[in-house]
């Protein structure tokens, strides 16, 4: 039983690590802001959840598990919200996606 839990947590941790790595490579390599926020925002939530779930499986029952769940809930709420706020603010400031003309002087 404990071996199964160990293997599950290892799978979660490794998948999470792979996802954040791919996300940050996307943030570095993609051509403009909107594609970058796509790469970051999508991988971030799932990767953070996976890593935290991996930690939860190690932790077992107790206060630590509860705190991990709190952190997970918090990240699930804030991370997409922050991405949304960022994208909206960028759009309102007149930043156009890659391929369109970058109009800075509309206000």
């Amino acid at each position: 039983m404990s071996l199964v839990v160990d293997i599950l947590s290892a799978i979660c941790l490794l998948t999470g690590s792979f996802l954040i790595l791919s996300g940050v490579i996307g943030v570095i390599r993609f051509p403009d802001f909107y594609t970058r926020i796509h790469a970051a925002g999508i991988t971030e939530t799932l990767a953070a959840s996976l890593i935290l779930i991996g930690l939860m499986l190690i932790a077992g029952w107790g206060l630590v598990l509860f705190k991990l769940i709190l952190i997970l809930l918090f990240i699930l709420f804030t991370s997409p919200t922050a991405s949304h706020a960022l994208g909206k603010a960028a759009w309102k400031s007149g930043l156009k996606p890659h391929g369109l003309v970058n109009k800075h002087d509309e206000d």
């Binding site: 943030v27 890593i51 991370s79 922050a82 603010a89």
Partner: protein
């Protein structure tokens, strides 16, 4: 056995944070920098949690929780600041 995977996760997180810093310095617009900063902050939360397990001190989870909260507030604050500077002096463009 478990420790090995924790160490792997820690190293990945550190690498990712370094790469996010590159974007934060290079980013052509303010929003790129804020995005990289947000990414960095989330990774810090995860790093604190993982390191807490690695050193066997789950006390650090409180710090991680505080950091998650503060990270969100900072992003919102910076966005408000960008709005304020844009509205108050329309000639300046970041």
């Amino acid at each position: 056995m478990n420790n090995m995977f924790l160490i792997v996760t820690t190293i990945t997180l550190l690498v990712v944070m370094a790469l996010a810093l590159i974007r934060a310095f290079a980013g052509p617009t303010v929003f790129d920098r804020v995005l990289a900063g947000n990414l960095f902050g989330t990774k810090v939360v995860l790093l604190i949690a993982v390191m807490g397990f690695l050193t066997g001190r789950p006390d650090f989870l409180d710090v991680a929780l505080t950091y998650a909260l503060i990270n969100f507030i900072s992003v919102i604050g910076i966005l408000r600041f960008v709005e304020i500077t844009r509205k108050s002096s329309p000639k300046e463009q970041s």
